[in-house]
């Protein structure tokens, strides 16, 4: 059996590759045609080749869990059918993301500065007052280029009408970019001929862009800056990515104990040559653990005095401590307003309609429509503590109504979106599976958006949960110029 796209149908959802009539969407023609020509055996061969490539590279994908007997090596499932976005459409998304992150950075700077947006009545003071990610210690600090969120991972979803929405912005320590890069390497090994035929925009410049962005933050711009990646250590689930990025950029991967703050309030690393000054820290440690002198005093992951060094401008930290204040699902609801307020522009990318439970009217609406809502706590990530109304029981609905009433500021609700689908291999067949997309936006002296991003796919039929811990996998994402080469 070869793939018959005529029989492929994604009911109720927008499919990224195939129209409801079974035809290829713009940009997808080549690959759809190509896959039609492959026999069952060919397909299986390609899938096996991808699996093998993953396993060989798999050492690098390893997640260690030393609690059990000797550690479990996990490989994130990968699907060989790519998700395709035409370049023309992507350039809009690209512009929308830049606009969004620019406004977010201005917002964060404003909150830690004059708080003009509150004075002007656009953003309510109460929301800020109850934000768990607001760091008082950052008041009055002005990071270089006015940028706080240097690396942002925004999650995009498409609804049944084909509109792309921003679902959330990850401004603390967004991860996943290494999978995006590795997925492309696997695809090049498995489908080299497609890369000859299609104009797929390359993505492998990311590490260089990241390095350049970090270098642009250096407090000593005249010298060759010393950049480090600060990791919480081997037991962190994203450790692979930390070490991968350090290697790709050719910089040191350090733990908190490798660094110290000197009597001159500069940050140094301990080397066999003695101390060496550090200019830029790409930190993958949550800000509450960064400086035991200022935040969590028990933290062993951080560096005592690093906030002092940072506030004096002796070292750059990306993302800046305190940037997480905008990584809050209530704050999210105000992003379109921020764009109008700070940039005097209309938002290019829309938000998913969001109801704030702190508002009496909106809360009433949420409670009376609870079975159709997705309810999320304001400050969690990774899909924790949320409820998908249509998939939940009556009991859970009740439970969440209780939670909302108890702490309205901490909850938002959104209508359940029918996420778009992409054809995916499942037990020898090709079936539609739901996806989202996480592009990464770099902001330093200038801005850069990855071409595409990490496409996560829910491998369980009908599931909307794409998280790796809950049966999610990933796909390569192709931004394709139409017309081919």
């Amino acid at each position: 059996m070869t793939i018959s796209w005529e029989n492929y149908s994604s009911t109720d959802s927008f499919d990224e590759l195939i129209t409801p009539g079974g035809r290829a969407r713009p940009g997808s023609g080549k690959i759809v045609q190509y896959m039609r020509r492959l026999s069952d055996e060919d397909l299986r061969e390609r899938r096996d080749a991808a699996e093998l490539a993953m396993r060989v590279m798999g050492i690098t994908f390893t997640v260690y869990n030393e609690e059990g007997e000797g550690g479990i090596d996990r490989v994130w499932p990968f699907d060989i059918i790519p998700r395709i976005i035409p370049a023309r459409e992507w350039s809009q998304t690209d512009a929308g993301l830049k606009q969004r992150v620019q406004a977010l950075n201005m917002f964060i700077g404003d909150l830690y500065g004059k708080q003009q947006i509150i004075k002007d009545g656009i953003f309510p003071k109460e929301v800020l007052a109850q934000s768990v990610n607001f760091r008082e210690q950052c008041m009055g600090i002005k990071p270089i280029h006015g940028v706080w969120a240097h690396i942002c991972g925004s999650d995009l979803v498409r609804d049944d009408k084909g509109t792309m929405y921003v679902l959330e912005d990850n401004l603390r320590v967004p991860s996943g970019v290494s999978y995006m890069l590795e997925n492309r390497l696997v695809m090049k090994r498995v489908f080299p001929e497609l890369f000859e035929d299609c104009s797929i925009l390359p993505i492998d410049g990311y590490s260089t862009r990241l390095f350049d962005m970090l270098a642009s933050l250096s407090p000593r711009p005249a010298d060759f800056p010393t950049i480090v990646v600060l990791t919480p250590g081997i037991y962190n689930s994203a450790y692979f990515e930390h070490s991968y990025l350090a290697q790709q950029m050719g910089v040191e991967l350090v733990s908190g104990s490798d660094l110290f703050v000197g009597e001159d309030d500069c940050v140094y690393m301990r080397t066999i040559n003695g101390r060496e000054r550090v200019d830029v820290i790409y930190r993958r440690v949550d800000d509450l653990f960064m400086d035991p002198e200022v935040f969590n005093p028990d933290s062993k992951l951080g560096v005592p005095g690093i906030m002092r060094a940072w506030s004096k401008g002796n070292v750059a930290i990306a993302n800046a401590p305190g940037a997480g204040v905008a990584d809050d699902k209530v704050v999210y609801a105000y992003v379109p307003e921020m764009i109008r307020y700070y940039l005097d522009q209309d938002p290019i990318l829309p938000n998913v309609p969001t109801y704030l439970c702190m508002d009496d009217k909106q809360r009433e609406y949420v409670i009376s429509n609870i079975e159709n809502m997705v309810v999320k706590p304001a400050n969690e990530s990774g899909g924790y503590g949320m409820m998908v109304g249509p998939a939940a029981t009556k009991k859970t609905h009740k439970e969440f109504v209780g939670l909302i009433k108890k702490d309205p500021r901490n909850y938002i609700a959104q209508p359940t979106l029918s996420l778009s689908t992409v054809p995916t291999f499942c037990d020898g067949n090709v079936e539609p599976r739901h996806v989202d997309l996480r592009p990464f936006i770099l902001s330093g002296e200038g801005q850069h958006v990855t071409r595409g991003g990490l496409t996560r796919v829910a491998l369980k039929k009908g599931s909307l949960v794409v998280n790796s811990s809950q049966g999610g996998g990933s796909k390569d994402t192709w931004i394709v110029e139409s017309g081919g080469k």
């Binding site: 050492i59 250590g233 350090a246 104990s257 490798d258 110290f260 066999i272 101390r275 005095g305």
Partner: protein
């Protein structure tokens, strides 16, 4: 640029790999030696505990040093913090956090060894399967050293591998001499005289040195000559003199080397100037103790120069330890 923490892990990784290999060889040799000794000989498995383990810890839990007890204590007993399994685990932990700088094959070999040792450890309890197990452990360690030597840049990081390996070797050679010699020295026992040679040969075997000794020393295996060879030979890789000379070469390629060099030279003098005949007859035990203290000194100086992270000061001069970072 080399982070202190990376240098430290690399150094200890190399020490543990070397320790695992040496332990395996000592067990193998003792195994063979015992087959040659008369039934009622005092020599047994007890010396092995003294070489590789902590005798007190052992006798807390065992009345007798039987073959089975000793084997299990040295290979896998959780009550023995320096058992072979835990050395393999420590080597692997150190490597894991510095994997990016080593050839991938090294990680794979060590990981294989780790799994093999955990799965097959009980093989050492029976004489028949013991040989294969220990042989496999030794071969894996050689594979790691060989891969490092053949496919890793011989840069500063590699110097820490070599230093770790050589200091561990020197230390192990001194322990083997110490324990063996103690068993051999009460030489009034006429009955055991015929076995004296066998035992000295086994000392050389424990250090994989019998063949080399025969080629270079040209006299039959005699206590004094064996000691002289193991202490002062320049060419034999497990002779203490050779090991220390290797460390000397490594230190030349490293910065801030004054303090460790100072400690090293002290040990080198002790070895080169040793009057072996005299030592054998009246103070071998003392001498070896002094020597081991000198090794501990070298290790301590390496630790404070390279692993703890000092401030660079242009004012550092010979013999004066650098100012320790206190911030």
């Amino acid at each position: 640029m080399l982070l202190s923490s990376v240098a430290e892990r690399v150094y200890w990784f190399a020490r543990y790999v070397e320790r695992v290999e040496n332990t395996a060889r000592i067990l193998l040799v003792n195994n063979n030696l015992l087959l040659d000794m008369p039934r009622n000989s005092t020599l047994g498995w007890e010396p092995i505990i003294s070489i590789t383990g902590i005798p007190d810890k052992f006798f807390e839990n065992h009345k007798e040093a039987t073959e089975r007890n000793v084997m299990s204590f040295i290979i896998m007993d959780a009550k023995n913090p320096s058992c072979m399994l835990s050395s393999i685990t420590h080597a692997r932990e150190n490597l894991r956090t510095s994997r990016a700088i080593f050839p991938r094959a090294v990680w794979e070999t060590l990981n294989d060894l780790y799994n093999y040792a955990r799965e097959n450890k009980s093989a050492v309890l029976t004489r028949r399967s013991r040989y294969d197990f220990l042989r496999h452990v030794i071969d894996s360690c050689h594979l790691i050293s060989g891969t490092l030597s053949a496919s890793m840049s011989h840069d500063q990081i590699y110097e820490f591998v070599r230093m770790g390996r050589n200091i561990e070797r020197a230390d192990m050679t001194s322990r083997v001499i110490d324990v063996r010699a103690e068993n051999l020295l009460p030489k009034n026992d006429e009955e055991l005289k015929p076995f004296d040679d066998i035992q000295w040969k086994s000392v050389l075997d424990s250090l994989a040195g019998y063949q080399m000794y025969r080629r270079y020393v040209h006299v039959r295996v005699r206590g004094v000559e064996v000691l002289r060879y193991l202490l002062q030979d320049k060419y034999f890789p497990r002779a203490i003199n050779h090991c220390l000379n290797q460390v000397e070469l490594c230190l030349r390629n490293l910065p801030l080397n004054e303090a460790p060099q100072y400690a090293l030279v002290k040990a080198q003098r002790m070895v080169r100037n040793a009057r072996v005949e005299k030592i054998v007859n009246d103070s071998l035990n003392d001498y070896i103790n002094q020597l081991q203290l000198a090794f501990i000194d070298i290790n301590a100086e390496l630790t404070s120069s390279y692993f703890e992270g000092r401030e660079v000061s242009t004012a550092i001069y010979y013999g004066e330890p650098a100012v320790k970072e206190t911030a």
